[in-house]
């Protein structure tokens, strides 16, 4: 809710969430009606308005208690951590118990409530109060005769309060078909807040609605709220737009190989991650890896466990080599474990909202998300998750959710329904084959990164989670022993092939040796023949030479003058 620039001045209540819905608080200087059935938290809301006013906004307040005594009131709100006695001592709070006992009061003739005006005025002046609570002023109708007169006096009272400029909260009991039994809403027309305490499916949920707020925009939905040790917390549901930041920083999943699959860096900070899988596929283990990695980086992790107790998670994770206890001891890891059936969805959400507000974590793990789902409430669960995811994103908190999918259907309806809210969706599957169940992990989607499309076998060892390549072959995807046996078969086949190659290589060598031997032999023969032929040539040349020498010698001895002429003569 973006507070519009409104000329109406507002007095912040300091109640978690309520100021968001009302765009800044209750109308300053005017009365606000808070109505609801018995036990819906009217008195508490009114008291918190005063306590916060006194402690945070330096606006002392007066509590006019028409129903409960000082002691009773102090005890009731002490459980919320409000120390009324101290505030009263510091003159920040004044509690005036208005006792009306109809039985000891007789009426005779006309009267007015001027004494109540004086009383309130005196109390306001005594501590310089800026705030006032009248709880529950309708008691006057039961305590005093002549309701017409009381009505007229109340009308005058509210006008008088406006004139005094005191920011007042007036509580009223819900009536049949009207907001309050006595129609107080007719007098208090500036701001009306209705509280409700409904039970559906055996689970009680408190809700708050701003019925009207004159001169101001306000959230008109019913907002769940809780009352716990810190007071009231209202959860604004759909006040958030899609304007959250988109950090580019990456955070590790705690498993190096998975980080590698996620474009080498892990998840985006502030993104929402869903791990869905069938029973026993290691969702919690994967989540604790993430938590462990975050704690190693020195970040705070808030772990909402809806199935296992923190001790059980610690023990189980120790068996896979993750020790969470030191992180808990260092205050980096906080568990919040509750049964999903403990309270309604809205209340869980509000409680989670509040725990996040208190612990200010960097990362939030919800394990598992869908333990809330019962037949027929998928839409509500989606709405709840959407609000949670929105809230985490606005806060820049990385959200890690696990979701149990029903066996047989790999992606159940709820997962599909919430898919649009999820940035990175991991799927764990149990693959049944060869008498084994083996786990596989794949990334269904991961917005904004080039993620791996490969399926990995997911092994949980005593050193934590290990991802391995799966065997993908003509026989399909094989995991576990099937993968091992397939790998062994392949190894054997490879061995056979290698031996065959070696044999052929040896054969080739032999052929080469044979060939070379023959080449050598032929070359030998050739050389021999060559040598013989050369010898023949040499001998022939030698003979020719010798012949010529003999002829020359003869010619010389004959003193032939001309070798040529002589040769002619000598020719036969």
């Amino acid at each position: 809710m973006t507070p519009l620039s409104s000329p109406l001045s507002k007095a912040p209540t300091g109640i978690l969430g309520l100021d968001d819905i009302t765009g800044g608080g209750l109308p300053r200087g005017r009365p606000t009606l808070v109505c609801g059935g018995p036990g819906c938290g009217k008195t508490l809301l009114a008291m918190e308005f005063l306590v916060r006013g006194a402690t945070r906004f330096a606006e002392p307040g007066v509590f006019m208690a028409f129903e409960e005594g000082d002691q009773e009131l102090a005890e009731n709100v002490a459980s919320l951590g409000f120390d009324l006695a101290q505030l009263v001592h510091d003159r920040q709070l004044l509690v005036d118990r208005v006792e009306i006992d109809r039985t000891e009061m007789e009426a005779s003739g006309e009267f007015d409530l001027e004494a109540l005006f004086i009383r309130i005025g005196h109390a306001l002046d005594a501590i310089g109060a800026k705030r006032l609570v009248l709880d529950t002023i309708e008691v006057l109708f039961a305590g005093l005769p002549n309701p017409i007169l009381v009505r007229a006096e109340l009308h005058r009272l509210f006008r008088w309060l406006k004139d005094r400029g005191v920011t007042a909260v007036v509580t009223g009991e819900r009536g049949d078909g009207s907001l309050t039994r006595q129609g107080l809403e007719e007098y208090v027309s500036d701001c009306v807040i209705a509280l409700d305490h409904r039970v559906s499916n055996l689970v009680a949920t408190r809700r708050l609605r701003v019925v009207k707020y004159r001169g101001s925009t306000h959230g008109t939905n019913e907002y769940p709220f809780i009352i716990d040790a810190d007071g009231i917390a209202v959860l604004p549901i759909t006040a958030l737009g899609l304007a959250h930041e988109a950090p580019t920083e990456r955070v590790s999943s705690g498993i190096p190989r998975l980080d590698a699959m996620l474009a080498g860096g892990g998840f985006y900070r502030g993104s929402s991650i869903l791990v869905s899988g069938t029973a026993g596929t290691g969702k919690t283990t994967l989540a604790t890896h993430f938590a462990d990695a975050a704690c190693r980086r020195g970040e705070r992790v808030l772990f909402f466990a809806f199935e296992e107790s923190p001790r059980q998670i610690e023990r189980n994770q120790r068996s896979v080599g993750i020790d969470l206890v030191p992180w808990v001891d260092q205050g980096l890891l906080q568990f919040s474990a509750q049964r999903p059936t403990f309270q309604g969805l809205e209340m869980h959400l509000t409680a989670m909202h509040k725990a996040i507000h208190r612990f200010q974590p960097h990362n939030v793990v919800v394990d598992p998300l869908n333990s809330f789902i019962s037949p027929g409430n998928e839409i509500e669960v989606k709405a709840m998750l959407m609000r949670l995811v929105d809230h985490l994103k606005v806060q820049g908190i990385t959200g890690y959710f696990t979701s149990l999918t029903a066996g047989g259907s790999p992606v159940d309806q709820t997962d599909t329904a919430i898919s649009s809210l999820i940035d990175t969706w991991l799927m764990l599957l149990a693959m049944e084959s060869g008498g084994e169940r083996n786990r596989s992990l794949s990334i269904l989607k991961s917005r904004g990164m080039a993620h791996s499309n490969q399926m990995r076998e997911f092994l949980i060892t005593d050193q934590g989670v290990v991802l391995r390549d799966v065997y993908v072959g003509p026989g399909g995807v094989l995991t576990g022993s099937a993968r091992l046996s397939q790998e062994a078969e392949e190894e054997a086949a490879r061995l056979v092939r290698r031996q065959e190659i070696e044999r052929q290589q040896r054969e080739l060598e032999r052929q080469r040796a044979r060939l070379e031997a023959r080449i050598a032999e032929l070359r030998g023969e050739f050389l021999a023949q060559e040598a013989e032929t050369l010898g023949l040539i040499a001998r022939e040349e030698a003979r020719e030479k010798a012949l010529r020498q003999g002829r020359d010698a003869m010619a010389r001895s004959r003193q032939a003058d001309d070798a040529t002429g002589g040769a002619h003569e000598l020719a036969p």
Binding site: I100, E104, S108, E110, L116, I118
Partner: protein
């Protein structure tokens, strides 16, 4: 008036003996300034006391505008309010006391019907 003790029946003779002379009565009338209604209430009270408590009563008129803190201390809401401080137990009657019968019942000067 829609009180359960609404007097419609005839006043019965009082079985309570007049306490005059035996006890001292202290009556406080809370008002807020001099309004016609408080003046009327005081006049009505004086008349009733003279009739039933002659000589043994004391009326204190408390103006809450002058002493606003007493509104809280004495648990006063309506104006005028008559409080029988003595004798015990404390009784309260609100209004201008124009209905004498109701005042007498309220002060235990007459049994409740």
């Amino acid at each position: 008036m829609n009180s359960p003790h609404d007097a419609g029946q005839a006043p019965t003779p009082s079985p309570v003996p007049s306490p005059a002379g035996t006890e001292q009565w202290l009556l406080r009338l809370y008002v807020a300034g001099q309004t016609p209604r408080s003046v009327l209430a005081f006049a009505n009270l004086r008349q009733i006391c003279e009739e039933h408590l002659a000589g043994c009563y004391q009326i204190e008129v408390i103006d809450l505008q002058a002493q606003p803190e007493l509104a809280r201390e004495d648990q006063i809401l309506a104006i005028p309010t008559l409080v029988r401080a003595l004798p015990e137990p404390v009784r309260r009657i609100i209004g201008d006391l124009s209905h004498t019968e109701r005042v007498l019942v309220g002060l235990d000067l007459k049994p409740r019907a």
